[in-house]
């Protein structure tokens, strides 16, 4: 391992800098990822209960009619949709596409637009 001086000064105070769109897309990827770690419990509970018995399966059906559960599932799906879309952008960039400054900004905009569309569609799916 190389030696790094840990007492070196750091002048980058992110709170005082106007962040570019790529930063927001990156931060949202992290926030959605952390949130999804909790959402796994929701998805596992849904899978467990829906497979446990006919009663459990029907109970999930009924539960999905309550607004609070719909909101929780929609929030989980929204986080998943955003995280997957932003993740696909990473995979595309790994192939060398969209790595320039302009390409990065365009990719960030596409991620936001596609994610918003998918999140709205997820809302339609949960509520209609």
């Amino acid at each position: 391992m190389y030696i790094v001086n840990k007492k070196r000064p750091v002048n980058l105070d992110i709170g005082t800098i106007a962040l570019p769109i790529t930063s927001y897309v990156s931060i949202l990827h992290r926030v959605s990822g952390v949130a999804l770690f909790g959402a796994v419990a929701v998805f596992l509970w849904l899978l467990d209960t829906s497979l446990s018995s006919e009663e459990g399966f029907n109970a999930i059906r009924e539960t999905m009619g309550s607004p609070i559960c719909q909101l929780i599932v929609w929030a989980a799906l929204a986080g998943l949709a955003y995280h997957v879309v932003a993740g696909v952008r990473h995979l595309i960039m790994d192939f060398g596409v969209g790595e320039t400054l302009e390409g990065g900004r365009l990719g960030a905009k596409i991620v936001l637009v596609v994610a918003v569309v998918l999140i709205l569609l997820a809302g339609v799916w949960v509520w209609v």
Partner: protein, 122 residues
């Protein structure tokens, strides 16, 4: 500050590749389950149970939960070692980060065991 002792594979390059491989598995699972539920809107319990009883689906379920575990470990390691640092939070940061990482690993193990229990039970 030594941070790689709690990273998933102890190697940044290996973590990088695992993060991508597990992402593809989870993306495939997400697309498959979403499409299945969309095309089977009047889903019955017997059909849902039949799907998950199939050996291919059991493998897919287990592969996906293992991918979740590896992906979450690597991703949360990156987040925690970036923000729960001595520079941002002071000298208490390292013990706090180790505590959070161990908690994250414990929750990850619970998820894996829970999922295996679901798959084994059907």
């Amino acid at each position: 500050m030594i941070t790689n002792v709690t990273s998933f594979s102890r190697s940044g390059l290996s973590d990088w590749l695992l993060q991508r491989v597990t992402a593809v598995v989870m993306a495939a699972y997400t697309v498959f389950i979403t499409a299945y539920l969309l095309f089977n809107s009047g889903l019955e319990y017997s059909q849902w149970l039949g799907l998950h009883s199939h050996i291919a689906m059991k493998v897919f379920n287990v592969l996906t939960v293992l991918s979740i575990a590896i992906h979450a470990w690597i991703g949360l390691w990156a987040v925690l070692t970036d923000y729960v640092t001595e520079r941002l939070l002071g000298p208490k940061a390292t013990p706090l980060r180790i505590f959070l990482q161990l908690g994250m690993i414990a929750v990850t193990l619970v998820y894996v065991i829970w999922a295996l229990d679901i798959v084994w039970g059907i």
